[in-house]
């Protein structure tokens, strides 16, 4: 091997400096435009940030594919859920008439909705694909009120950046950014395949985020909190998923 020539040394130096400053500028821009996910630190941070930033830019106007009624999977499949506890049983016996969805945080008019309240708002039905990170999937029709509609009713404040959602299952909570929260296909779903949403599929109320994988579609939703900072929730990683080792953003 030849010894390094001066020219080569200079070119390599310039290339390294350019690369490093390029990365710094890209990092700064990503931060400024909110393209760094809440679990963007740690050893897998670079990969997560690249995925989230790239998909956020690509999906800014995209709609999840919708299918024809003949493509609905029969029967649909749902992973088993853990025991739901006495409170859930009690509400279930009452036909979920007393189920409440409270909405608070950075909103002008905090509110609490019953299932009937939610049904009185304009509904949307869509036949979409639900894929689990494990590899299985099914197609079903979901009916619900668009999350954007609920957020309109309570009036989100301008500094809102994420919507955090909590489940009757204490260890399940998650969040989406405003791009997904305000997306027309993101539903607070109460119906499935023409009927009520079955308990096995998250009934009476489930969040439906069709551009992300199954685990973002938290079941038994009881509370929505609008926030500008995810650090305040749990371990500050944006959802229960990263605390269990799974990525916050599940677009892939």
């Amino acid at each position: 091997m030849k010894p390094l020539s001066r020219r080569k040394l200079i070119t390599t130096g310039i290339a390294t400096a350019a690369g490093a400053s390029g990365l710094a500028v890209a990092g700064g821009l990503a931060k400024r435009y909110g393209l760094i996910p809440p679990d963007g630190g740690g050893p897998f941070g670079p990969g997560e940030t690249l995925t989230y930033a790239a998909q956020r830019i690509l999906t800014s106007h995209s709609m999840a594919r919708e299918f024809s009624p003949s493509q609905i999977s029969n029967p649909p499949f749902a992973n088993e859920v853990g025991p739901l506890g006495g409170e859930f049983k009690h509400l279930q016996e009452g036909g979920f008439a007393d189920w409440r969805l409270t909405v608070d945080g950075l909103v002008a008019r905090p509110a609490s909705f019953s299932i009937a309240d939610l049904k009185s708002h304009p509904s949307r039905s869509q036949i979409t694909h639900l894929a689990c990170e494990e590899g299985w999937s099914y197609i079903a029709q979901w009916t619900g009120v668009p999350l954007s509609c609920v957020l309109d009713v309570v009036g989100i404040l301008p500094q809102a950046r994420y919507v955090v959602y909590f489940s009757m299952q204490k260890d399940w909570w998650d969040s989406v950014d405003m791009a997904d929260a305000l997306h027309p296909q993101t539903l607070v779903a109460y119906g499935m395949n023409g009927g009520e949403l079955p308990v096995g599929h998250g009934g009476p109320l489930r969040l439906r985020v069709p551009r992300q994988l199954g685990y973002k579609n938290v079941k038994y939703v009881t509370r929505l909190t609008v926030t500008d900072n995810l650090k305040r929730f749990g371990e500050g990683l944006g959802s229960a998923s990263p605390e269990g080792g799974y990525a916050w953003y599940a677009g892939i």
């Binding site: 897998f44 690509l58 999906t59 299918f67 992973n79 590899g135 099914y138």
Partner: protein
């Protein structure tokens, strides 16, 4: 470390002047980054597969669906009927994180390699077969030589032989793009942006199944690749890919 002295075709014999490099620095660096990424992708891919070792064709597939085929291994999810009385540990969290991080690094490295291939002449000089070699006779003699385990001639110390060229071209320009495409087609977000990229494959479960088969082909390539390196002289070939030096005097040892 100059490419200029590389021999143009596999048919030519001896380099015009003393060459110190069999592989350029860029080829060596991208080769080893790709190796690390491939092994990480393979390991994490297997971990992810274990959570649902069943494959389907079309848009959807789950345990209520008849699979195209299933892999007779235990699963890391109790919901999957495998016939085994136990469930493996869930490793999907870090496996998915690492799978996508390694995929990004592999794709960026691959782009750098392909771009430099086009501009440095590596593609034309070392990968595209010489016109004279594009005959049935050249192929059959190359295949016959391989089947007889004929040691490579000294000219192969400087470039790739015909079968190597064709194999590398297929891996770089067919299998790698296909595995990236089928991987992205499984993403619900990507499917929302490029629905046709999913439907032409037959659906998201078809994409997953093709992703699996391309992995099998890539693993086969890896095994044959390692076997050929051993046959051609493991130490020389490894030294060439690490330091760039070819070491012709012991070629074929």
């Amino acid at each position: 470390m100059s490419d200029a002295a590389w021999v143009a075709t596999s048919a030519a014999a001896v380099p015009a002047r003393t060459v110190t490099s069999r592989h350029s620095a860029l080829v060596r660096v991208t080769h080893w980054i790709t190796t690390i990424c491939f092994l990480a992708l393979l390991l994490t891919g297997i971990e992810i597969l274990i959570s649902h070792p069943r494959f389907y064709w079309g848009e959807t597939g789950n345990i209520h669906t008849t699979p195209l085929f299933r892999i007779p291994i235990p699963a890391s999810r109790s919901s999957v009927p495998t016939g085994y009385g136990y469930v493996l540990q869930d490793q999907n969290g870090w496996s998915r994180y690492l799978h996508f991080q390694a995929a990004w690094l592999a794709v960026l490295t691959g782009l750098l390699y392909v771009l430099s291939c086009l501009f440095s002449g590596h593609l034309r000089k070392d990968l595209l077969p010489a016109r004279a070699d594009l005959s049935g006779r050249a192929f059959s003699s190359a295949i016959a030589n391989h089947l007889r385990f004929k040691p490579p001639g000294t000219e192969e110390a400087w470039s790739y032989n015909l079968l190597q060229r064709v194999t590398y071209l297929v891996v770089i320009f067919v299998l790698f793009p296909l595995i990236i495409w089928t991987g992205l087609a499984m993403s619900p977000a990507i499917a929302s942006v490029f629905p046709t990229a999913v439907s032409v494959l037959g659906g998201q479960q078809s994409a997953r199944t093709i992703h699996f088969f391309v992995t099998v082909l890539l693993v086969l390539f890896l095994l044959v690749h390692i076997m050929m390196i051993c046959l051609a002289g493991f130490r020389n070939r490894m030294r060439a890919m690490i330091t760039g030096r070819a070491g012709t005097h012991k070629e074929g040892a």
